[in-house]
């Protein structure tokens, strides 16, 4: 396979073995620290070559899960299987160095006493690459991440972004069958973060390795993932493709964590086919019903930003597809392609309400609310 490299800007090519990714199967894994259950009966299967993103807030247990897969952490119950090998179960943990991994740490974990080249070459020790060829391999990977000239430098002579690239080069240099990423972009600024995200995505897909990537940033997760697992309080609450999680969040937590505009409480009025009419502060709307609820019950109503649009007064809509709410503009922010508004409405405070033109602060406006991207969560799920 030949690849042209975006990162270095210079064309480089080398042969990558196809399909080196390994299947990862996590089943029933639990891990407690004292009385705190960091992982509680977690199961997840990842296909070879997939990028799985564990998405969750800090403290949700996603880092513990990643560390358990890496072999840095032990498990109290359950098993972790890589391909045919059971690597972790209660009382038995194959050590990290025997797992055929590459890993990018949140703090990069570059060894300060080694040059950039030595840091990267470290991961080649376990491979069968002849020593004579290792230098070339290292330089090549450094070239791929745009650090071709920085081999002889020490980590503390590099910028944060450059250090991150070294960490990435070290993770991929030996072509491991599994790559682990522990919030690798959290220490970078927004612009660099997006560029690095693309590089990681490109490099991982080219290598063919399976990857587990943890983050608390939903946009990062949607951009990278083949499959997303949303983690909350030590449990995986939903697994699915980015699209399915976006369109059918299993819980209010998942919905909130994967990006919403706003939400409120309402009372269920009628039930339809997977849909329902809810009364939110006197305003009746069609929404997508998730879980089950009976008319008269209180439900959580949550709208994604994509559900919302500012429409001219007097616009008529098909109630089965869109509802209408009225609101007051609180803020308007220019976003290049248009304006994002914050609107106080009967659905609560809605953020990221997009329109091509700016509406002045304090003005009244009508917002159409798409049924497909507005969810009501019943209590009996």
């Amino acid at each position: 396979m030949t690849a042209v490299l975006a990162a270095s800007g210079a064309p480089a090519s080398f042969e990558l073995p196809a399909g080196t990714g390994v299947e990862v199967e996590i089943s029933g894994v639990s891990r407690s620290f004292g009385s705190v259950a960091a992982l509680d009966d977690v199961s997840l299967a990842i296909e070879p070559g997939q990028i799985a993103v564990l998405l969750g807030p800090s403290g949700s247990g996603k880092t513990t899960l990643l560390r358990a897969v890496a072999g840095i952490e032990t498990v109290d119950a359950g098993t972790i299987r890589l391909g045919e090998r059971v690597l972790s179960r209660r009382g038995s943990t194959t050590s990290a160095d025997r797992r055929d991994l590459g890993m990018v740490f949140q703090d990069y974990a570059l060894w300060p006493h080694m040059t950039v080249r030595d840091n990267v070459a470290f991961a080649l020790r376990r491979t069968r690459i002849p020593i004579a060829d290792r230098r070339a391999r290292v330089d090549e990977v450094l070239g791929r991440v745009g650090l071709g000239e920085h081999g002889p430098r020490y980590p503390n002579e590099l910028s944060g972004g450059q250090q991150q690239r070294v960490a990435l080069a070290r993770a991929i240099v030996a072509n491991p069958s599994l790559l682990l990423f522990d919030e690798p972009l959290s220490n970078l600024d927004a612009d660099l973060r997006e560029r690095m995200r693309v590089e990681i995505s490109t490099l991982v897909r080219e290598s063919g390795a399976t990857a587990i990537y943890i983050t608390h940033d939903q946009s990062e997760a949607f951009a990278l993932a083949d499959v997303i697992a949303v983690v909350e309080a030590g449990r995986i609450v939903q697994v699915g493709s980015p699209e399915s999680i976006f369109s059918h969040p299993a819980t209010p937590f998942v919905a909130r964590f994967t990006g919403i505009s706003g939400g409120s409480n309402g009372t269920l009025r009628h039930l339809g086919d997977g849909r329902a009419v809810v009364d939110v502060s006197g305003c009746e709307l069609w929404v997508t019903l998730i879980g089950q609820a009976m008319p008269g019950e209180r439900v959580d109503v949550i709208a994604r930003a994509t559900a919302l649009a500012i429409v001219p007064d007097g616009t008529r809509v098909d109630e089965a597809v869109h509802g209408l709410v009225e609101g007051t503009v609180i803020d308007s922010a220019y976003r290049g392609a248009g304006y994002d508004h914050v609107v106080e409405s009967s659905l609560g405070r809605l953020t990221g309400v997009r329109d091509a033109q700016s509406h002045p602060r304090g003005s009244r406006c009508m917002i159409s609310v798409a049924v497909a991207a507005t969810f009501a969560f019943g209590n009996n799920r």
């Binding site: 840095i72 045919e84 050590s95 990290a96 890993m103 470290f122 491979t127």
Partner: protein
């Protein structure tokens, strides 16, 4: 561009597939066994001897030290009269010493690591030398200077005013503080090294000047500063060197002088000494409790795998002048004084007085250099110190690891208390505890006959060295973020490989310092040497003391100075070799620039 074929992982997979689970189980079992072994060692060398010694206060009959099987009489005696006064005096001077040492230690750490002040290298050397200098030598130096008809008076300056100040609590606290400075400096500087510049930047960005920056740094380093306070406090209440010299001349009783009076006078009163030890330990527990309260559970793990460079402050001429004055004052009060005292004494035939008829010459050195009382004991002590320092560094590393664990496990806190408690107990308590514990007929009946051997002396040295060696390493250990070694494991290094290629290089300099300091301290250790040296083998410190006690002041101090010089030579050689031989990357760690 090169085309490379990367080895397929299939082969690797097959290879590791075979033995993996079995090996994993072995590792798990090995881990718990090793863990157990570590604690057994700690209990045997540290906890047991202290516990046995402490038992004597409550039950003298248990160790044949009195008729009572259960008694509080020793405590009643410890809490009355001169013993109580000594105890209260100790608290006062130790608190002052701790505060002064922590302040100076912090200042030095900041100047050495965060400024471009001149003489930084020399200052590090000074701290090392200070660490090596026994406290009684500093005290004697002051006495030689200030005593009636002493050095100052001989050169035409009447020090009566200064004498009345130094001969008392202030002088005692001053010397203890000076001795505490290296400990405070090491503790604080290790933490300061890990503190990135972003905090400095934040202060500057919000309009703070250098003073505010220092205040912020103090707040950030609070855990290390508290740790420094605790260690200097513990070192000070257990010090006997100043108690036996300056405090004694000033008729200012402290707890340790009372303890030694109980143990080294006839008849020996172990129950009283044990009761005083209880009180000293109580002080440490209180100090640790205060530390924990003040920190509210904060720890000082601030360093990470992300490299950060500190901000180096350029000193202006005025600041440099102030620094130089401070530096000279420090040198004069710490090393200058004992050097005058000891060197003048060692150069003079007789009793070390400068006035009078005594000629200055190298006669004492000539005599001592050819004397069998120097060579044999010095070699014996050097061998023991070498083994002790090596073992202590390994064991201390494990202790530091337990202590540096984030959040701090209950075992970690227990170990912390045990170690600081051990610092607070004078060496003679250890030594006597070792005799009690390892000379029990029942221990001999079990086939353990290590009392009266160099091995037991070594274990006791190890136990006395362990607390301070651990303290030296815990800072460096806390800085090393776990991710460093985890990254190595993940990228294919085994546990030994990770240790050799990642942990060792990062810890190389602190390990070397810890080794050298432990070596030097052990070389001149006295109380344990006196009670536990096997008959027929005399450690150098005992030789020196015996010479001094036989009024061979010149010979004794000459031996002492030669011993210190030998230790300094080892230090110089070791650092020299490190600079010559260590890989370039190793030398980058912990160096600000």
């Amino acid at each position: 561009m090169t085309r490379l074929t990367v080895a397929l992982p299939a082969a690797r997979r097959g290879q590791s597939f075979l033995g993996a689970p079995r090996r994993a189980r072995r590792v798990a079992i090995g881990r718990s066994k090793a863990f157990l072994a570590f604690w057994i060692v700690i209990v045997l060398i540290l906890v047991l001897p202290i516990a046995v010694f402490l038992a004597v206060a409550i039950s003298p009959a248990l160790l044949d030290q009195g008729p009572a099987w259960l008694s509080v009489d020793a405590f009643a005696r410890a809490l009355t009269g001169p013993t109580l006064r000594g105890f209260l005096d100790s608290i006062v001077v130790a608190v002052i010493a701790a505060a002064v040492a922590a302040g100076v230690g912090f200042g030095l750490a900041w100047i050495l690591l965060r400024t471009d002040a001149p003489l930084r290298g020399l200052t590090t050397g000074l701290l090392f030398a200070l660490f090596l200098t026994p406290s009684y030598l500093i005290a004697l130096g002051w006495e030689r200077l200030l005593e009636p008809n002493g050095v100052l008076q001989a050169v035409g300056f009447d020090p009566a005013g200064i004498r009345s100040v130094i001969y008392g609590p202030i002088g005692v606290a001053l010397i203890l503080a000076v001795k505490g400075i290296p400990f405070a400096y090491l503790t604080v500087s290790n933490a300061l090294r890990g503190l990135g510049r972003e905090y400095d930047d934040a202060v500057r960005a919000h309009g703070g000047g250098p003073l505010r920056s220092i205040r912020m740094t103090v707040a950030m380093l609070a855990p290390a500063i508290w740790s420094a306070l605790a260690i200097v406090f513990a070192e000070s209440i257990s010090d006997y060197g100043v108690a036996a010299t300056l405090a004694n001349s000033a008729h200012f009783p402290v707890a340790t002088s009372e303890l030694y009076n109980a143990v080294e006078a006839f008849p020996v009163d172990f129950p009283l000494a044990s009761a005083i030890s209880w009180l000293l330990l109580l002080l440490v527990v209180v100090a640790l409790w205060l530390q924990n309260r003040a920190l509210n559970g904060r720890s000082f793990q601030v360093f990470s795998g992300r490299a950060r460079q500190p901000l180096i402050v350029r000193m202006r001429a005025g600041s440099i002048a102030i620094w130089l004055v401070a530096f000279v004052t420090l040198i004069a009060t710490s090393l200058g004084v004992p050097v005058v005292g000891a060197v003048s004494a060692s150069l003079i035939d007789g009793l070390g007085s400068i006035s009078g008829s005594h000629a200055w010459n190298l006669h004492n050195y000539q005599r001592v250099l050819v004397s069998p009382e120097l060579g044999g004991p010095l070699v014996y002590s050097a061998i023991l110190a070498t083994i002790c320092a090596s073992a202590a560094v390994v064991l201390a590393l494990m202790c530091a690891r337990v202590l540096a664990t984030r959040g701090g496990s209950r075992l970690g806190r227990l170990l912390d208390t045990a170690l600081l408690g051990a610092v607070a107990l004078p060496g003679i308590v250890f030594a006597a505890g070792y005799i009690f514990a390892y000379n029990l007929p029942i221990v001999n009946a079990l086939g353990i006959r290590i009392y009266g051997t160099s091995a037991l002396l070594l274990l006791a040295y190890l136990a006395t060295a362990l607390p301070s060696t651990t303290r030296l390493l815990v800072g460096a250990m806390s800085q090393q973020h776990d991710s460093m070694s985890q990254a190595a494991r993940v990228h294919g290094a085994g546990s030994i490989g990770t240790w050799l290629r990642v942990s060792l290089p990062i810890l190389a300099r602190p390990l070397l310092s810890a080794w050298l300091l432990t070596y030097s301290a052990t070389l001149l250790e006295l109380p344990v040497s006196q009670l536990l040296a096997p008959p027929g083998s005399q450690p150098i410190s005992v030789g020196i003391t015996v010479a001094l006690n036989r009024y061979d002041y010149g010979g004794g101090t000459a031996m002492e100075i030669l011993a210190i010089l030998s230790a300094l030579a080892i230090v110089a050689i070791a650092y020299g070799l490190f600079h010559l031989l260590a890989p370039r990357g190793w030398k980058r760690i912990g160096v600000a620039r």
